[in-house]
């Protein structure tokens, strides 16, 4: 300051220059950090979407199938018990025959061995046709237009995953089959269409990646999130209200407070070990069941709901409580009529974010047998909560472990589905907070 006379204000001195430079450097660091973070996000999204979007489309082969009464209904009485004896393998042969006949009828020349033509159709086709016929026995004897999934390699060819060059080295397909697939597409027999089955069908074995869907996983995740909501919300709110409004402030409540904060930071795998020990080994609940997953995730979510709920309760100004008490309301009335409604937006936001975390959690589920091949849909609640089911995050993990390259695409597709759910939940939380938030 003393040498101000030597340095006019408009001429920055050395120290000012250094300070300005430091600020510019700091800004540059910040900008770099944000650019890096954004680049990582973009890279992640691009890689997931480019790998996963093809999962929402699937190659279908449509051709007429004659449901021959002699093979499908030997007794001729349309007796469902008798008809159920025809296996999916029997149906598969029928489909293969019809497919070969269709190629011949269309006059398409090809070099595929007649025995191998059926390999172009997914093995799932037999099961789908069988379900269709058993659900509607009147179809026997008719010729129906049947839409079958194409084999995973054919599907991969239209999606660019399989090329003529890789096919020549692949024992599961051949360039001849791909050439035939091209001709069939020109003839309108094969088409790539939207695949709602990816969201509705259940998991499939390594031999038919084209038929694998997320149905069981979505239902299992839904069951678990509902269980978490039904248990964690009331318990969490009750605990927070008691701690915040009723409990005396002493060492004991302080210890509880510290413990809740600590529990929120406990790694989720620990809850999995706890769940395995308590719910499965001790209480004897079934493995792979949404009820166990739901209970474990409830334990995990509880502290994550209690903390924001207490914060929301704390944010309600004491003047509101004083006013209510002043006009003669009881403590309980004050809480239920005034404090809770005012804190509701904050509680809701905390709950939704807690649920979103529970939805995306996989580590504790690994330990309670949820990483399994589950093909059958769980039943309706409450009984269905005890049936085996998968969950979205573990289904992703499961698919990445499979040998067939078709599952890579499925896993990325499942990640997209999970991300969409999470974005929707978080957006709802933000929307609710913005809409109902009150400032005093």
């Amino acid at each position: 300051m003393t040498d101000m006379t030597d340095h006019p204000l408009l001429m920055p001195d050395a120290r000012t220059k250094a300070r300005n430079a430091a600020e510019r450097r700091f800004r540059a660091y910040g900008l770099t950090a944000i650019t890096l973070a954004l680049a990582a996000l973009v890279w992640l999204l691009v890689s997931i979407f480019s790998a996963g979007l093809p999962a929402f489309k699937q190659t279908f082969i449509t051709f007429p199938v004659t449901l021959d009464a002699a093979t499908l209904d030997k007794s001729g009485k349309l007796d469902p018990v008798e008809m159920a004896k025809v296996t999916t393998i029997g149906y598969g042969k029928l489909i293969d025959k019809a497919f070969a006949a269709e190629i011949e009828a269309k006059g398409i020349a090809h070099e595929v061995k007649p025995k191998e033509l059926g390999d172009m159709i997914s093995e799932q086709a037999g099961a789908s046709l069988r379900d269709m016929v058993l659900a509607n026995p009147a179809l026997v004897g008719q010729t129906i237009q049947f839409q079958a999934l194409a084999n995973g390699r054919i599907d991969g060819y239209f999606k660019g995953r399989v090329t003529m060059e890789t096919a020549s080295r692949d024992k599961n397909t051949s360039p001849e089959k791909l050439a035939l697939a091209d001709k069939l597409r020109d003839a309108g027999v094969i088409a790539v269409k939207l695949n709602p089955g990816f969201l509705t069908m259940s998991d499939a074995s390594d031999k038919r990646p084209e038929a694998a869907g997320l149905g069981v996983a979505i239902l299992g995740s839904l069951y678990m999130v509902v269980i978490v909501l039904c248990l964690a919300l009331p318990i969490g709110v009750a605990a927070s209200v008691y701690l915040e409004e009723f409990a005396p402030k002493n060492t004991f409540t302080d210890i509880i407070e510290v413990n809740i904060a600590n529990l929120a930071a406990v790694p989720s795998i620990v809850y999995g070990i706890l769940g395995l020990a308590i719910f499965i080994n001790f209480a004897g609940l079934p493995q792979s069941a949404p009820i166990v997953g739901g209970l474990v995730l409830t334990l995990m979510t509880l502290p994550r709901i209690i903390i924001p709920t207490r914060a929301a309760l704390k944010a309600v100004p004491p003047s509101i409580r004083d006013a209510a008490l002043g006009v003669g309301a009881s403590k309980l009335q004050t809480v239920t009529h005034h404090v809770l409604p005012l804190a509701a937006p904050g509680i809701l936001t905390g709950t939704i974010i807690g649920l979103a975390q529970a939805l995306g959690e996989s580590a504790p589920l690994l330990l309670i047998g949820m990483v399994a091949f589950v093909k059958d849909f769980p039943g309706l609640p409450p009984q269905g909560l005890f049936d085996p089911a998968a969950a979205l995050p573990v289904q992703i993990y499961n698919w990445t472990q499979r040998g067939d390259p078709g599952f890579v695409e499925r896993a990325s597709g499942a990640i997209i589905v999970l991300l969409v759910f999470l974005v929707v939940m978080n957006a709802a939380a933000i929307y609710l907070r913005r809409k109902y938030e009150r400032r005093w």
């Binding site: 296996t87 099961a127 248990l231 009750a238 605990a239 079934p286 209970l295 589950v374 059958d376 472990q401």
Partner: protein
């Protein structure tokens, strides 16, 4: 107070839920990740026929599966453990201690263990001796054991391609590792003469114990980064191989056959691995795959015996069967196994 509440509520829910929980009607299977794809293929086809629900199949590794099998008898324990190695006496003892006294051992077929490298890389013609010389801890040199110093494959044998040694081998929790140890390391150890040198210095009361200790010494691998133990599945080996094109990885035959567009398989003793060469016994590195079944659950959990019969039916393990198409090497003595299932024969004590 909140925790008393939490725990009381949780217990109340538990009490209510155990009442609601009804008898399990689907099979629970766990174990080897090598058997997993076969088991899911069978489970899927089994459930499709509509008579029984689709079994729930879990992976986790052979050892973990057997441990789960031996946890006890009852609906909350699994019915079948898939295993890519034979059951151990310690497993049987645990089982017996927990009341699992009747175990059926069902051999479902054979699986080849293959070495494969990046499709664009050079060919490898491996022998057990070459594998041992590449990654064994000590090799025979001028009649004495010396630390293995081979850096590139040409150091092992001039005929090999000049690239750095890097092998991705299964971790010790995998059943595959046991076969790798016995069929490759021990064989290679003997062929290179390192076994005799280990034997000369081995400790032990008698020759038998000395021999066992020498074999154990043969399993010791170099720790200077030329081998990496993969604890995950073959998909992890494949992605490591993708990242490092120099590497040679260990895979199951079926995994290789489903990824022939990315992998180039190595011959062992000049034999190319395939379903045929493994069935004929020409290809040296193969191992049987097993299912260990809790016989006490037959008749309790619906569909257990039917699942076993379906697993070994012609539609699955026959010449055109679904499992053989996927890469399983069928058991030439499958008829015996089928008879064993029909008779519900339990396994004989281990020798």
């Amino acid at each position: 107070m909140s925790f008393t509440k939490v725990s009381v509520s949780a217990l109340a829910i538990l009490a209510a839920s155990t009442v609601v929980a009804s008898a399990r009607d689907q099979l629970q299977i766990a174990g080897s990740s090598t058997v997993l794809p076969y088991a899911t293929i069978v489970a899927e086809a089994f459930g499709e026929q509509g008579s029984f629900p689709t079994p729930v199949v879990e992976g986790g590794g052979s050892g973990a599966g057997r441990a789960a099998l031996c946890k006890g008898v009852g609906e909350d324990t699994i019915d079948i453990a898939n295993s890519s190695s034979k059951i151990k006496q310690s497993d049987i003892d645990t089982c017996a201690a927990n009341g699992v006294t009747d175990i059926m051992e069902i051999r479902i077929g054979y699986d080849g263990i293959v070495f494969a490298s990046d499709i664009a890389g050079p060919d490898f013609a491996l022998t057990p001796a070459a594998v041992y010389s590449a990654i064994g801890a000590k090799v025979a040199k001028d009649g004495a054991l010396a630390d293995n110093a081979a850096k590139t494959w040409t150091d092992v044998d001039a005929a090999f391609p000049a690239q750095d040694i890097l092998m991705l081998i299964p971790g010790s929790k995998h059943g595959t590792r046991e076969v790798f140890d016995i069929k490759l390391l021990e064989e290679g150890c003997k062929a290179t003469g390192a076994y005799d040198l280990y034997l000369a210095t081995a400790e032990g009361a008698d020759d038998k114990e000395k021999g066992a200790n020498a074999l154990k010494a043969c399993h010791t691998l170099r720790t200077d980064g030329v081998q990496v133990e993969i604890d995950g599945d073959y998909t992890e080996t494949l992605s490591r191989l993708d990242a490092n094109k120099q590497a040679v990885g260990v895979f199951g035959l079926s995994f290789y056959e489903n990824n022939t567009d990315k992998l180039k398989v190595a011959t062992i003793n000049g034999v190319v691995p395939s379903v045929e060469t493994i069935a004929s016994g020409d290809y040296p590195v193969s191992r049987p795959l097993f299912m260990y079944v809790k016989k006490q659950h037959i008749g309790v959990i619906p569909g257990l015996k039917e699942y076993l019969q379906f697993f070994l039916s012609e539609d699955m393990v026959g010449a055109d069967g679904a499992l053989v198409a996927y890469g399983l090497v069928a058991d030439p003595e499958v008829e015996k196994v089928r008879a064993m299932i029909d008779a519900e024969e339990v396994m004989a004590p281990l020798q």
